[in-house]
């Protein structure tokens, strides 16, 4: 069993959704994750708010951020517990962010630090 981090990017279009459309859309997120929960593959997820700050370099300069193109915008994350990348990718393919042309899911395995 391995852990994979799924990062949801893009899909900014939904910021213009009506409250009803937004609710319907978010229900699909909840359904997607509930299904993972039932299968015992869900290990956590949180949405992120749109704006943030970035601390950069040795001088620790703080700026508004993260200055990314719409499609790069990080909207949230999920951690799932599956055996391999293929399974993680299958999960990612059902992510509602992909309802948007510019939506993307970045899939990364969570590593172990061996020292």
């Amino acid at each position: 069993m391995k852990e994979y981090l799924l990062l949801f990017r893009g899909g900014n279009e939904r910021l213009n959704f009506s409250p009803n459309d937004m609710q319907e859309h978010m229900q699909r997120w909840a359904q997607w994750m509930s299904e993972l929960g039932k299968q015992g593959k869900f290990a956590g997820a949180q949405p992120l708010v749109k704006t943030g700050r970035v601390v950069r370099g040795a001088k620790k300069i703080v700026s508004d951020g993260p200055f990314m193109e719409g499609k790069e915008m990080l909207g949230g994350y999920l951690v799932c517990k599956v055996d391999n990348y293929d399974e993680a990718l299958d999960i990612a393919k059902d992510c509602p962010i992909l309802e948007f042309e510019d939506g993307a899911v970045e899939v990364r395995e969570i590593g172990e630090m061996r020292m």
Partner: protein, 426 residues
């Protein structure tokens, strides 16, 4: 126009009984039995909110829906506030969804679906009746947590002190904290004994409603109704459909069919011989018969079967004189064999008095084992008074009626006993 505060209190009191137990069950499922206190606090808060808001804005169209929504929101608040606390274990597949903002609301909604709440309530009753919790502690917890009884009322029902009741509650919660008992239906080979414990609690609850220790009212219909609702849940669930469940349901139907005839308009007791039998609720008696038929499968003859049979004899007698006391006495003798108790022995003496007269009853009464347990039980002295009255020992009769008056907290009982004294002095 805002409703009269009293009205709100009356309605809320009813909802306390009917909805609070459901909320407790759902919240206990969410937070775990080890956090029963959290569930109780949320329910308490919810009911207080209801009182506050309804006083100002009136009672909402769907009060239960209102309560559930508020309880749900309070539960969500607690989860958000305790995100990183280890107090709540949300690691199971369903609960883990409560830890994510994406799924918190929808996962919470899932816990509150109407169709699963009744099952949760039954599971909660089974948790309260866990075999490693003593029977007394089980019943105390059900009465307090699920049925909203005060410790005073429970103490009266068990012929014990308030302090003992508080200790029992504490011990049971401590057991839950240590063992984190899951809310689930018992395994098939346990279901019989586990259901018996639940039935015992329902039975005591019914008795409390049927012959209330509450100072003002003798019959508390809301409590009777609660007992019948809980038992009905058991009759409807395939896990718990054993003969005893139907027998107890029959027993409660027969007894409560007489409610309207047991008190005068002024709330004074009308004794069985004087009751207007046309006021007996025939629909409930028929219901009782139907349950009795359902109880008659397998080879089980439980105390509930016998008590239901006794109640049926009373219900089917056209008048007091026509009562088949002999068969009732027979039922009591069987009852003493399978479930002997001082209170049953006492009731048997009452029947014996009808069949063999007061002198025989007096002898039998002195034979009761564990007479000490009845030492604070008013019915013992009230019966002793009655026996002496029939034997024309007026002084002894008055003496015992006086003790009974001091022992019962029910104003209605007091009044009835005082009337007897007045009569015997004339």
């Amino acid at each position: 126009m805002p409703p009269h505060p009293y009205q709100v209190t009356k309605l809320t009191e009813h909802l306390f009984r009917t909805e609070a137990k459901k909320m407790i069950a759902v919240l206990t499922k969410i937070f775990g039995t080890e956090n029963l206190q959290t569930a109780e606090d949320v329910v308490q808060d919810t009911l207080l909110s209801a009182l506050d808001v309804w006083k100002l804005k009136g009672i909402p169209d769907n009060p239960s829906g209102w309560l559930f929504r508020v309880a749900k929101n309070k539960a969500i608040d607690i989860i958000r506030r305790n995100k990183h606390s280890l107090q709540y274990d949300f690691t199971d597949n369903e609960k883990i969804l409560l830890t994510s903002e994406y799924t918190l609301t929808s996962a919470m909604d899932n816990f509150w679906q109407e169709k699963i709440i009744n099952d949760d309530l039954l599971r909660m009753m089974f948790a309260c009746c866990h075999p490693e919790i003593s029977e007394e502690n089980q019943i105390t917890l059900i009465l307090k947590t699920l049925c909203g009884f005060s410790t005073v009322e429970i103490a009266r029902a068990f012929l014990t002190s308030e302090e003992t009741v508080s200790k029992r509650l504490y011990r049971t919660k401590e057991f839950f904290r240590q063992h984190k008992i899951k809310l689930e239906f018992p395994a098939a080979d346990d279901i019989k004994t586990r259901t018996d414990a639940v039935l015992n609690a329902v039975y005591l609850l019914f008795n409390e409603g049927y012959n209330s220790t509450n100072a003002e009212e003798l019959i508390r219909k809301d409590v009777i109704e609660e007992a019948m609702i809980l038992c009905k849940l058991l009759t409807e669930n395939s896990h718990t459909q054993i003969p005893e469940v139907f027998a107890l349901m029959a027993l409660m139907c027969f007894h409560s069919s007489r409610n309207e005839s047991r008190l005068t308009a002024e709330g004074e007791i009308i004794l069985l011989p004087m009751q207007n039998r046309s006021k007996w609720n025939t629909a409930l008696i028929e219901k009782g018969n139907a349950y009795m038929n359902k109880a008659a499968f397998g080879d089980v003859l439980s105390a509930y079967h016998l008590e239901a049979a006794i109640a049926f004899e009373h219900c089917s007698a056209t008048n007091f004189e026509m009562t088949n006391w002999k068969i009732i006495l027979q039922y009591y003798e069987w009852l003493m064999q399978i479930a002997p108790s001082p209170v049953t022995a006492l009731n048997k003496v009452i029947v014996l008095m009808q069949v063999n007269g007061a002198q025989a009853a007096l002898l039998e009464l002195q034979e009761i084992k564990d007479l000490k347990k009845l030492g604070r039980y008013y019915l013992y002295y009230s019966l002793l008074g009655e026996i002496h009255l029939r034997l024309n020992n007026k002084e002894a009769a008055k003496e015992n009626f006086d003790i009974a008056i001091n022992l019962t907290q029910s104003q209605v009982e007091k009044k009835m006993l005082k009337n007897k004294i007045v009569e015997l002095l004339n």
